[in-house]
């Protein structure tokens, strides 16, 4: 067995036929982590003993004939999902050593389906970043080029999948944090419709934008994981009580007759020519496969980043007020009084980018600025969402780049927050509008860096994303391509 050839679907077959045990499979991934982790740094926490115990339990379940869809499959979770009994930090010093007393709903669903959890993946602190460099426990590297960022904020998850340190991972996406690292690391990453997947037990960044989703080796694995994660949860009042379709059934549907829209604004100035070429080639191949290409316009795209950088920090400033040094997390030593305890615990515990966003959000919500900033941002959000409604009258899917450039060098943008923010211009609109989006590998640049294609669909049309992404995968020749780390 060569773990670099495996997907979740193929591993399922091996496990069910008894050709490999979950303990063997888990040990192979733990060995791989041991071999490459020093270079990739994809994980904050790896729990070898817990993983092997889960694998042994999975083997018993398989022997009893009670295997669930993921029984015995080794995966990782972005360190933003609560895992009972396993440290959960959100990449922040303020939560170092925090061991959640309960599982997130998604964690519980994955465990129930039998997944083996190897550990928790590195991420930008509180998911605030596009390169994973704000992680307080060290930045993960891009397995395709260790000098480059793996993207963010779910960068550790993407790097772990690409470096074969797990079969799949779960990421969270508030402004592109699943899709962008998936693109930079040459894997598949899907942000579901807002409300499709429960957020209970997800450490909140911006609650009206956050959504959890699968990060996988291929589109079939993505469909499998999405089916397990999706569905209504009474503990998340924003989760939607809509039936979960059989996403796997969409895999063979093809794109014949599908109307694929190319949004003009997503191909505008600033787009790297190699990225543009790879994305346009993917579109042309879908046309050859029977899709119809149409030109569409999302005229407010250029305002999405500005609206996002009011709305997301405003929600963050409220959400992160819970980190006060009282009930959990870091507390500064010897505070003179309660106010000092708050001030020092938060100022010592949070990193620079998190503080910056709390400051922007607090400012935008403060007396005298609320209407000019926050209310204005919410109104522009309406305009951005309307763009999608209008575009989806002319097409079924939007096809575009995920990010304007391939992965950049570590350190290149970290001292320039605004240029980092602007790199998310093509992924942020989907979060504002709540629509689902997927990144699927479409090619490599001359320098050997992966480039993904982004597909977006109307609310609750993830099955269309799966069908179209599968067609991209079949024609792009990227399936199974992994970086040569050795």
């Amino acid at each position: 067995m060569n773990i670099s050839d495996l997907t979740m679907v193929s591993a399922r077959g091996l496990l069910d036929r008894g050709e490999v045990s979950s303990v063997e499979l888990t040990r192979a991934f733990l060995d791989r982590i041991g071999a490459v982790e020093e270079r990739v740094r994809a994980y904050i926490t790896v729990d070898r003993d817990a993983a092997l115990a889960q694998a042994a339990a999975a083997d018993r379940r398989i022997a009893e004939g009670n295997a669930g869809p993921l029984t015995g499959i080794p995966i990782s979770l972005k360190d933003v999902l609560c895992t009972e009994g396993m440290q959960t930090t959100a990449g922040s010093r303020i939560l170092e050593g925090f061991v959640p007393p309960y599982d997130a709903t998604v964690t519980a669903r994955l465990k129930e389906a039998g997944a083996v959890i190897l550990g928790k993946a590195a991420m930008d602190e509180f998911a605030m970043g596009s390169s994973s460099e704000t992680c307080a426990f060290g930045a993960p590297r891009n397995p395709w080029d260790l000098e480059r960022i793996c993207g963010g904020s779910s960068g550790g998850s993407a790097a772990a999948v690409a470096a074969c340190e797990c079969l799949a991972s779960i990421g969270s996406d508030t402004g592109g944090s699943i899709r962008q690292p998936a693109s930079h690391c040459g894997i598949v990453g899907l942000k579901p419709t807002y409300g499709r997947v429960s957020r209970f037990g997800l450490l909140a960044y911006a609650s009206s934008l956050d959504q959890l989703g699968p990060m996988t080796r291929d589109v079939a694995d993505c469909a499998l994981l999405l089916s397990v994660m999706s569905g209504h949860d009474p503990r998340d009042s924003t989760s939607v009580d809509e039936p979960v379709p059989d996403y796997g059934a969409a895999l063979g549907r093809g794109v014949k007759g599908m109307r694929i829209g190319l949004p003009a604004e997503y191909f505008s100035a600033g787009l790297d020519p190699e990225v543009e070429e790879i994305v346009r080639r993917a579109a042309a191949r879908l046309e050859e496969a029977g899709a119809e290409l149409v030109e569409v316009s999302l005229p407010h795209t250029d305002y999405a980043v500005a609206a996002y950088y009011i709305i997301a920090p405003a929600e963050a400033s409220s959400n992160l007020s819970r980190y006060d040094g009282v009930r959990f997390g870091f507390r500064a030593a010897d505070p003179a009084d309660l106010l000092e305890l708050y001030l020092e615990s938060r100022s010592q515990g949070f990193g620079a980018e998190v503080k910056r966003r709390i400051m922007i959000g607090t400012y935008a919500l403060s007396a005298g600025y609320y209407d000019a900033y926050y209310l204005k941002g919410l109104k522009v959000r309406t305009l951005v969402a309307r763009d999608f409604t209008n575009a989806f009258e002319k097409c079924d899917i939007l096809l575009s780049p995920v990010a304007p450039t391939p992965a950049w060098k570590i350190g290149e943008k970290i001292s320039d927050p605004l240029s980092m923010y602007l790199s998310d211009i093509l992924t942020i609109p989907a979060n504002l509008a709540g629509v689902p989006g997927i990144s699927v590998p479409a090619g490599l640049t001359a320098a050997g860096l992966p480039v993904g294609v982004q597909l977006q669909a109307p609310h609750f049309r993830e099955q269309d994303l799966i069908a179209c992404a599968r067609a991209v995968e079949e024609t792009a020749g990227m399936a199974g391509r992994l970086p040569e780390l050795d």
């Binding site: 061991v99 007393p101 309960y102 807002y194 409300g195 009206s208 009474p234 009042s237 924003t238 939607v240 407010h300 305002y303 980043v305 500005a306 609206a307 950088y309 009011i310 006060d324 040094g325 009282v326 009930r327 959990f328 997390g329 870091f330 507390r331 003179a336 009084d337 309660l338 001030l343 020092e344 938060r346 100022s347 949070f350 503080k355 910056r356 709390i358 400051m359 922007i360 607090t362 400012y363 403060s366 000019a372 900033y373 209310l375 204005k376 941002g377 919410l378 109104k379 522009v380 959000r381 309406t382 305009l383 969402a385 927050p417 605004l418 923010y421 979060n431 509008a433 709540g434 629509v435």
Partner: protein, 94 residues
């Protein structure tokens, strides 16, 4: 400048954050650049546009008002920086 050093100090106080005097000018400059960028929203006429707080249409989510199990006290206190077995402990307030 959209935001002065004094305003940065005031907002920091509201956010329960503390910055050193050396950090304030740089932070003010960074926030100023971001707020100046964000100001491009004023180019758009949003008169009569309803604000969106929730992207997917929803009505209220109701549930039965039933008593269910809650987090046991020892689990709730397990991550506390300081506790007395019954409560979280903080410096004396009064």
């Amino acid at each position: 400048m959209k935001i002065s050093a004094d305003e940065v100090r005031k907002v920091a106080g509201l956010a329960r954050l503390r910055f050193s005097e050396e950090e304030i000018p740089q932070l003010a400059a960074e926030l100023d650049r971001i707020l100046t960028y964000v100001d491009k929203l004023s180019e758009l006429d949003t008169d009569g546009v309803e604000p969106t707080t929730h992207a997917v249409p929803r009505v209220n989510a109701f549930r039965e008002d039933e008593v269910t199990e809650s987090l046991p006290r020892e689990k709730a206190l397990a991550n506390a920086p300081a506790d007395n077995g019954a409560s979280f402990v903080v410096p004396r307030v009064i």
